[in-house]
Each structure stands twice: as structure tokens, then as C-alpha cells.
């Protein structure tokens, strides 16, 4: 670049301007968001979900590395955490949001979450495209595991106008985990 002074200035200016713009958004915003304290709900989600992100220990996202629970002397992966992982794997969040909006969803989908409700959760899969009902409080609206099992196997048997595809290809254990995850979303 010998002799082209204007390009040296240009390159430095580019780096300064771009760094400043990233500092304002990612830097300041990130520091602020990282300081938000966890709520009770966030702590309970941390206990059940563990890490829902993809991991080498669980390459096909079957929920093999979710937190363990013990019931009647048997030890197994927490079905709520496994259900969330299946929710991510099957891309449910491409249609169902997990975020009642602050502006207008209070009456229909319930109270929007608090900032601290997400602490420790990753991925949050709050979704962006609501082709299907919000699920943040689905466990309060539909508290029956049996209903969810039937709904996932054959959506149109419980809601004849549904455009959700059938998830009959999931095995019994996975369907049960998914239903338990739905019910846990109070």
C-alpha cells in the first residue's frame, strides 16, 4: 500500500467507526443485559433445562446430557429438559413464539416475561414468526399431558383447523418429554 496515504486514513477510519458502532450496540447493550439478576422462574428453568444447546455429547439432540432426576429409585434425564431440547431440534420455535409481547398480548397469551426470566437459558428460542399460538403460558392454558400427547400425534383430532404437522414420527419417550415440557410452561 506504499504511498497511498488516503487509504491508510480510510482503513483506520473504517476500523474506528465500525468499532464504535459495535461498542454502542454489542458492548453497552451486552454489559447492561449481563447484569440483569435471575428471577425465581429463571432459577427453576436452569435446574430443569441444564444446557439445551447442541453438544458433542448429544449430537442428534436426543436429550442425553440433560440434568438427571431420580424417581422410584430410577435415574433418568429430566423430561422437561429433554422436551425443550426436542422443541429446539424439531424447530417448533419457527412457528410458536415463547414471548407474549408487552404491547398487546396480555389478555390473550398472558403476561409478558420479565427480563430476569431468561437468565441462564440458552438458546432462549423466543421466536420471531408467530404462525402458531404463543407457548410461554401453555401449561396454564392446557395443563393436561394427555391432551398434548394426542395433539402432537394428530393435531387435527383435537383442533380441526390446525395447520401443524403431525409429529407421529417421534418415539413414545420423546412425545412424553415434549408434552411434559409443554405442561411445565406455566
Amino acid at each position: 500500500m506504499g504511498g497511498y496515504k488516503e487509504y491508510k486514513i480510510g482503513v483506520i477510519m473504517f476500523l474506528v467507526v465500525f468499532a464504535a458502532s459495535m461498542f454502542m450496540t454489542i458492548g453497552l447493550g451486552g454489559v447492561y443485559l449481563a447484569k440483569i439478576p435471575a428471577t425465581q422462574l429463571a432459577l427453576s428453568k436452569q435446574v430443569h433445562y441444564g444446557s439445551s444447546a447442541w453438544s458433542i455429547k448429544d449430537p442428534l439432540m436426543k436429550g442425553l446430557n440433560q440434568p438427571m432426576v431420580t424417581k422410584r429409585g430410577k435415574s433418568f434425564n429430566d423430561p422437561v429438559g429433554v422436551g425443550k431440547k426436542i422443541f429446539i431440534r424439531e424447530g417448533c420455535w419457527h412457528c410458536h413464539t415463547l414471548l407474549p409481547e408487552q404491547s398487546m398480548d396480555w389478555e390473550y397469551f398472558g403476561a409478558p416475561p420479565l427480563a430476569g426470566d431468561f437468565v441462564g437459558e440458552s438458546p432462549t428460542v423466543i421466536g420471531s414468526d408467530r404462525k402458531a399460538p404463543d407457548l410461554m403460558h401453555i401449561g396454564s392454558r392446557m395443563p393436561s399431558v394427555a391432551w398434548h400427547l394426542q395433539h402432537h400425534k394428530d393435531p387435527r383430532s383435537v383442533q380441526n383447523k390446525s395447520i401443524m404437522q403431525s409429529f407421529d414420527f417421534l418415539d413414545k419417550k420423546e412425545l412424553k418429554a415434549l408434552a411434559k415440557y409443554m405442561v411445565s410452561l406455566k
Binding site: F14, V17, F18, A20, S21, M24, T25, I26, G29, G30, Y32, L33, A34, I36, A42, S52, A53, W54, I56, P59, L60, I88, R89, G91, W93, H94, C95, T97, P100, E101, Q102, S103, M104, P113, A115, D117, F118, V119, E121, S122, P123, T124, I126, G127, D129, K131, A132, P155, R156, Q159, K161, S162, I163, M164, Q165, S166, F167, D168, F169, L170
Partner: protein, 473 residues
């Protein structure tokens, strides 16, 4: 430079660009076909379910697994490979030198293709990071940052360093800046995969990435390609270098800042939302600067719009940026966002940016560059015109049906209509969207056929039949 000849090793200049352009067009056909398939699964959800022959593939072709495949292939297959193809073709042309290494370029494109095949398989097998627009798992993120973006950047930067021109044209500024900006953007998107970043911070980074894959990569590079193709084909000089400066610096300064406007309904602090919203409206400055510059460059040559298919595509894409950017700038303000957020309106807008604006400009560049690279005329003008009209009519219809469906959803949301009734009311529009989607897909397969025939059977250009500026018309 003395190293310039050493790196050729038997490859003709333009080899990397040829590989890149053809890979991109093949991914365009595959990506749009998967898009069409996902739209069918919304219109007819039981399609393929319970079909005996599908067997274990039923899960692989479930809606939730094919949708990320469509997005990943279209953005990181078609659009991004076509961008790098344009870089491999235009950077040497504008720097009056050869590409730094054709061999590295060919390796880069094939590593890219392999990465997309592996990524695509991992997505339909269910390995999904759970972050929209950044759905590849973290080992693949690292692969994208190094083998794909890293190698492409090295090649473009080294080419600029060995240039034999005094100045650097605006297209090349954008290429270089966008490569750096995409690297940073992709890295920020991958941070929650690689480091323990959780909660709203994770959501914010995911949406910052999703916004800036468009804002710092797709928008500036599409514009950069138009800055090359439109003056080149019309034979006019760029209208204003200064407006180009305005465009460039405003993109660098505040195209990245409105990331939070994707989370207007989330419990982010108010100052972040306000900051994002205000800087979101300022997006109009670079976009209007770009459009003005392009439209004024065509002065006196508008007749070529109907005679040159490359210009037809590039200018249509540029003009689409007018409604696109007004829509984009204002729909993210709170006054409008609360109404249309999360509806099909947004899906229509996303296709406006990726298909209406970016893809049209890139298709224009592909027609131009493939004819130039193979030194042949376009095989069939009528197929090219058919491609133009199928894509244009398909896109306009697609956008209109989705926007109408979005408005129905929005009013349903405001009046607390029973949700399932809104789903039912929008169903006919989903069927309509599939039909228009099919129109678009057909156009792209015709495009692939036409490009293949151009490379193999197009009329060779000789001194006798070569027009002054371009190889066809």
C-alpha cells in the same frame, strides 16, 4: 508482483469465479426448491406424513427441519457464494490484475460446497443450534469463519494489495469492508454457541447477527455489485463518487446499530429499543444515497432496460430497494412494529430484501459475468426473459399474498380474535404463496439450464460480433 504468476499453477484466470458462479446458481435452485417445499407443508401440513416409502425420512422432511435448511442454503449458499463469485470476478477486473490465487479460490468454493452439504445434512438430522439465521452447530461455525470466510477474505485482500491501479473503486471498498463486517457479525452470532452467554444477551446477539447478516453483508455487497454492473453495462460513469462515500460511511456507522428492533416486544431496556428504532429510520440515508446514485447513473440509457437482461435484473433489484427500505425503516418503529410484529408481513419483508433486492441484482451480475467469463453470448435471450418475468411475477405475487396474510394476522392479534380463526382465515393465502413460490422456483431452474447452455453451447464472441460494451443484446 512476482508472486502473481507463481500462484497460477495451470489454472486460467477466472476459473475460481466460474466455479463460484455455477455453485451459487445450483444452490439457488436447491434453496428455492426447499423454500417451496416448506410452503407446501404450511398449506398442506399432512403432506408426506404416513407415506410408506418415506420411512425414516419423514422426520428429515418435517417442516421444522426443512425451514432452517431453506434459510441456510439461500443465504449462505446462493447469496453468499454469488457475492464471493462477484468478488473473484470484479476485484481483479477493477484492480487491473489477476486474482491473487485461482487455486485458493477454487479450493475455497469447494470447501464451501462441502460445508453446505455437511451443514444441510446436520440440519435435517436435527442438529440445530436453536438460533434463527445462525442455525449451524458450533463446529460448523468455526468452519464457516475459517475455511469459508477466512480463505475468501485472504484472496480478495491480497488481490487488492497487488493492484495496478491508482485508486480503489467503490465496489472494492464495499467488498473489503463487508468481508470484515461479515466475519465480525458471524462471530457475534456464534458467541452464544462458543461461550456461556445466556438469557436476553443470547437473544440480543442472535438478533444482532440476524439483522447484520443483512445490514453489513447482503445490503452493502448487493449495492457494490450494482455499482459495478450498472455503469459497466450502460457505459455511463458513476453519477457521484461523493454520494458513494455517503452511502459507504453511513452503512459502516449505523447500519449495525438497529439490531434490537427485532426484539421490540421483549423485555429489553427501553433505551436499547429507542436507540435501535431511531437508528433504524436512519437506514434510509445509505439506501436512498445508493438508489439515487444508481438511477442517475442510468440517465439517457433507460432504453437498455428492455434490451439487456442483465441490466433489467440489476435495475429491478435496485428499484425494489425503494419500497423495501421505506418499509424496513418504518415498520421497526414502535408505532408500526406492535401491529405487524411476528406476522407474515415480516416474512414478506424478508423475501423483499433477499429475493426482490439482493437476488435480482446478483442474477443480473451472474448473466453478465458468465457471458464474459466464457466469452460467449447468452444461450437464449427468450429463456432469460422468461426467467425475468417468472421471478418478477412470482415475487410480486408472493409478497402481496404474504403481506395481506400478515395484515389479517395483525388485526386478529389487535382484536383478540380466537387464534385458530386467524390461522384458518390466512390459509388460502398460504396456498397462493405456494403457487407464486412455484413460479419463482421454475424461473430459477430455467436460469440454471440457460447458464449451463451458455457455458457449453453459447455462440462464441469474436471480434466481428462483439458489441462495444457487452457481450449480448
Amino acid at each position: 508482483m512476482s508472486t502473481a504468476t507463481a500462484t497460477y499453477e495451470g489454472l486460467k484466470p477466472g476459473t475460481a469465479a466460474k466455479h463460484a458462479f455455477f455453485s451459487a446458481v445450483v444452490w439457488l435452485c436447491i434453496g428455492t426448491s426447499f423454500g417451496f417445499f416448506t410452503s407446501l407443508r404450511i398449506a398442506w401440513p399432512d403432506l408426506l406424513n404416513g407415506v410408506e416409502v418415506m420411512g425414516p425420512l419423514t422426520s428429515a422432511f418435517a417442516f421444522g427441519r426443512v425451514r432452517p435448511l431453506h434459510i441456510t442454503i439461500v443465504i449462505f449458499g446462493w447469496i453468499s457464494i454469488a457475492f464471493v463469485a462477484a468478488m473473484y470476478y470484479m476485484t481483479p477486473a477493477l484492480c487491473n490484475c489477476r486474482l491473487w490465487s485461482e487455486k485458493l479460490g477454487v479450493w475455497n468454493i469447494w470447501l464451501w460446497n462441502v460445508g453446505l452439504v455437511v451443514g444441510g445434512l446436520s440440519l435435517i438430522m436435527g442438529a440445530n443450534s436453536g438460533r434463527e439465521y445462525q442455525e449451524l452447530i458450533w463446529p460448523l461455525d468455526i468452519y464457516v469463519l475459517t475455511a469459508i470466510l477466512g480463505l475468501a477474505s485472504i484472496n480478495v485482500f491480497m488481490t487488492v494489495l497487488q493492484r495496478r491501479t491508482q485508486g480503489i473503486y467503490i465496489t472494492v471498498w464495499f467488498f473489503m469492508a463487508a468481508l470484515i463486517m461479515l466475519f465480525m457479525t458471524y462471530f457475534v452470532g456464534a458467541i452464544p454457541d462458543l461461550f456461556p452467554v445466556t438469557g436476553l444477551n443470547e437473544a440480543y446477539m442472535v438478533w444482532w447477527h440476524a439483522h447484520n447478516v443483512l445490514g453489513l453483508w447482503i445490503t452493502p455487497v448487493s449495492a457494490a455489485i450494482a455499482y459495478y454492473v450498472i455503469p459497466k453495462i450502460t457505459g455511463n460513469v458513476l453519477y457521484s463518487h461523493k454520494i458513494g462515500h455517503l452511502h459507504f460511511w453511513t452503512i459502516v456507522a449505523f447500519y449495525s446499530t438497529p439490531g434490537a428492533h427485532h426484539l421490540m416486544g421483549a423485555p429489553l431496556p427501553e433505551w436499547m429499543k429507542s436507540f435501535a428504532s431511531v437508528s433504524g429510520v436512519m437506514i434510509l440515508i445509505p439506501s436512498l444515497a445508493f438508489i439515487t446514485n444508481m438511477v442517475l447513473t442510468v440517465q439517457g440509457k433507460w432504453n437498455m432496460f428492455s434490451s439487456n437482461v442483465s441490466l433489467q435484473f440489476a435495475l429491478t433489484g435496485t428499484l425494489m430497494a425503494v419500497p423495501l427500505n421505506f418499509q424496513g425503516a418504518f415498520q421497526q418503529t414502535r408505532a408500526i412494529n406492535w401491529y405487524i410484529h411476528g406476522t407474515h408481513w415480516i416474512v414478506a419483508h424478508a423475501h423483499f430484501a433477499l429475493l426482490g433486492f439482493s437476488t435480482f441484482i446478483e442474477i443480473g451480475a451472474t448473466y453478465y459475468a458468465i457471458a464474459k467469463l466464457f466469452n460467449r453470448k447468452i444461450y437464449s435471450q427468450s429463456l432469460a426473459t422468461t426467467h425475468y418475468w417468472l421471478t418478477t411475477i412470482g415475487f410480486v405475487g408472493f409478497w402481496t399474498t404474504l403481506t395481506l396474510a400478515g395484515l389479517i394476522q395483525a388485526s386478529g392479534k389487535v382484536y383478540n380474535t380466537t387464534f385458530i380463526d386467524v390461522v384458518y382465515a390466512t390459509h388460502p393465502y398460504m396456498v397462493g404463496r405456494s403457487l407464486f413460490g412455484l413460479t419463482i422456483v421454475l424461473g430459477q431452474w430455467i436460469f440454471l439450464y440457460n447458464m449451463y447452455k451458455t457455458a457449453t453451447a453459447g455462440e462464441p464472441v469474436t471480434e466481428k460480433n462483439a458489441p462495444a460494451t457487452v457481450y449480448y443484446t
